[in-house]
Amino acid sequence: MEKRERGILLEAEKFKENKGVKKEKMGEEAKGEFEPKIIGFTCNWCTYAGADLAGTSRKKYPPNVRLIRLMCSGRLDPMFVLKVLLNGADAVFIGGCHPGECHYIKGNFYARRRIAAIRTILKQFGLDNRVRAEWCSASEGDKFARIMKEMAEDIKKLGPNPMRGKIL
C-alpha cells in the first residue's frame, strides 16, 4: 500500500516537471501556417547516419522531423506507429538499411512485413499516407534530405492528423 502511494507521488512530481516542458514546447509552435510534426524511427547503422551526413554536409531539409534512433528497423514495434499517431503527431517516418544490407541480416525484412501490415490496417481509416518507410544508407544524406522535404510537403497538403484534437 505504502509503496503504491509513493509511486503515485513520484509520478505526480514528474507530472509537475512535464507541465513546464509542455508549455515551452507549445510556445515554440509557429502560429499561422500548419507545421507538421513528423516522428522518424531510424536505424543506427544507416538512416540515422544518413541524417547525420545530411546535417554535416549542410543539406537543407525542413525541421519538421524528430528522429528516434533504433538499433535496427527490425526494432520497430508497429505499436510505436500507433502511439505516435494517437498522441497527435502528423506522420511517422521509418528509415532502415536497404534490403540485404541490414547489420542483423534480416531485421529489415521482418520490419517490411510489419510495416506493410500496420499500413494496411491504417489504410482502412485513411491514415496510411501518414506512415512512410524508406531504405536509406549512411551515405545517402541527399536521399534523406529529399525524403524529409517530400514528406513535409505531403503532410502539409494532407493537413493535421485527424486524431490530434480528439479526446481519444
Binding site: E11, M79, R113
Partner: protein, 354 residues
Amino acid sequence: MKGTELKYEDLEGLFKGLLDKKAVDCLILPHKVGNNVAYMMATDKDRIEPPVPAIFAPSFSVNAANIVKGWTIPEKIGIVAKPCEIRAAVELIKLRQMDKESVLLISVDCSGTYKNQDYADHYGEIGDWVDSAKIEELKGKGIAIREACEICDNRFADVGDIGIARVDGEKVLVAGITDMGIEALSALELSLEDKEIERQEEKEKIAADAKKKEEELPKASSVEELEEFLRDCIVCKNCRDMCPVCYCKECFFDQPLGNPVGGDLLNLAELRGAIAVPANQLMYHLTRVYHVSTTCVGCGACEDACPKDIPLTRFYPVIAKKVQEIFEYVPGKDVEEPLPFVTYEEEELEDKLR
C-alpha cells in the same frame, strides 16, 4: 483423403473408440444441454453421449481452441469442433501455445451458426442442423446466423487431422487429413479407402456469397467513424479473453503502460491535454487488430463476448483479412506453413511501404 462413410449413429462408436484405443487421452466435443449445446471434456468413454444431435447443431458458444490454449502437457487431447475453431487451434500450434503431437484436431462441417442464446430461444424452429435454404427461411422470420458466419468462407471439414463431412442421407464421411489423423482412424480398425467429395462448386459459391456479404457490411472508414464505432466500448477486454488467437500471458493492456493507474493515468492525460477514459480504448483495439491480423480466423467469438454489443466482426476479421491477403495467408489451413511475421521474401511488398 483416406476415409470411410459412416451412419450418424456410428459416430458415437467412433468417439468412444478414440478414447478406448488411446488415440486420445481425452476428448472435447459438444453435447446437448436442454435446448442448447455446450462443450464437454471426457476421459471416460462411457460418458460419451450420442453425438447427434449436438455435433451439427448450429450454435456457437465459445471457440473450443480457446479452451485448450496453453495445452503444453504430453497427454493427447482430441477436439471435435467447427472449422474456425480447428483453424484457431492450428494457429495456436504455430504460435507454440500447443504441441502438435498432443492434439488431435477433428473438424466438422458447418453451415453457419447462431449465437448460442439465440439458438436455445429458437430451438423449435432451428432444429438440430441447418442448410443454406433453412438459414434463408429462418432469416425471413428474423432469426439470423452470426455476422461472422455470413462472411465465413471456410465452412468445410477439411482442416485439422480428421474431417467429418456430412453427405446425403444421414451419413458422414470421416476422413484422415494428416498422417496423425489417418493413424488414429486406422487404430479404430475402420476400413479406409481413397475418398473425395466433390464440393468445389459449392465451395466457390459459398466464397462468392461470403465475399459479397462482407463487402456489404457497414465499416468505419475514417477516424471519426472508428470513434463512433467504438463509442460504447468500456475496455473490459472480453473480446481479447475470448479470442482464441490472442494468447499473450501478459497482455500489454494489463500492464502499467497499457492500463495506467494513478500517476501514470495523470501523465497520459497531461501528455494529450484530455483523454477518453477508461484510457487506451483506441490504442487497445488498433493494437489487438494488428496482433491478430495474420491469425484471426474470423470466428466472431470477440463479437459474441462483447457486453456492449459492438459488432466487432466488422472490425477484427474484416481488417485481418486485408492483411492476410497481402501475405496470401489463410490462417489454420496448413500447420507447416510459417506464420507471415516469422518469414519473409527478399523481394516483396515495396508498394506497401509508402
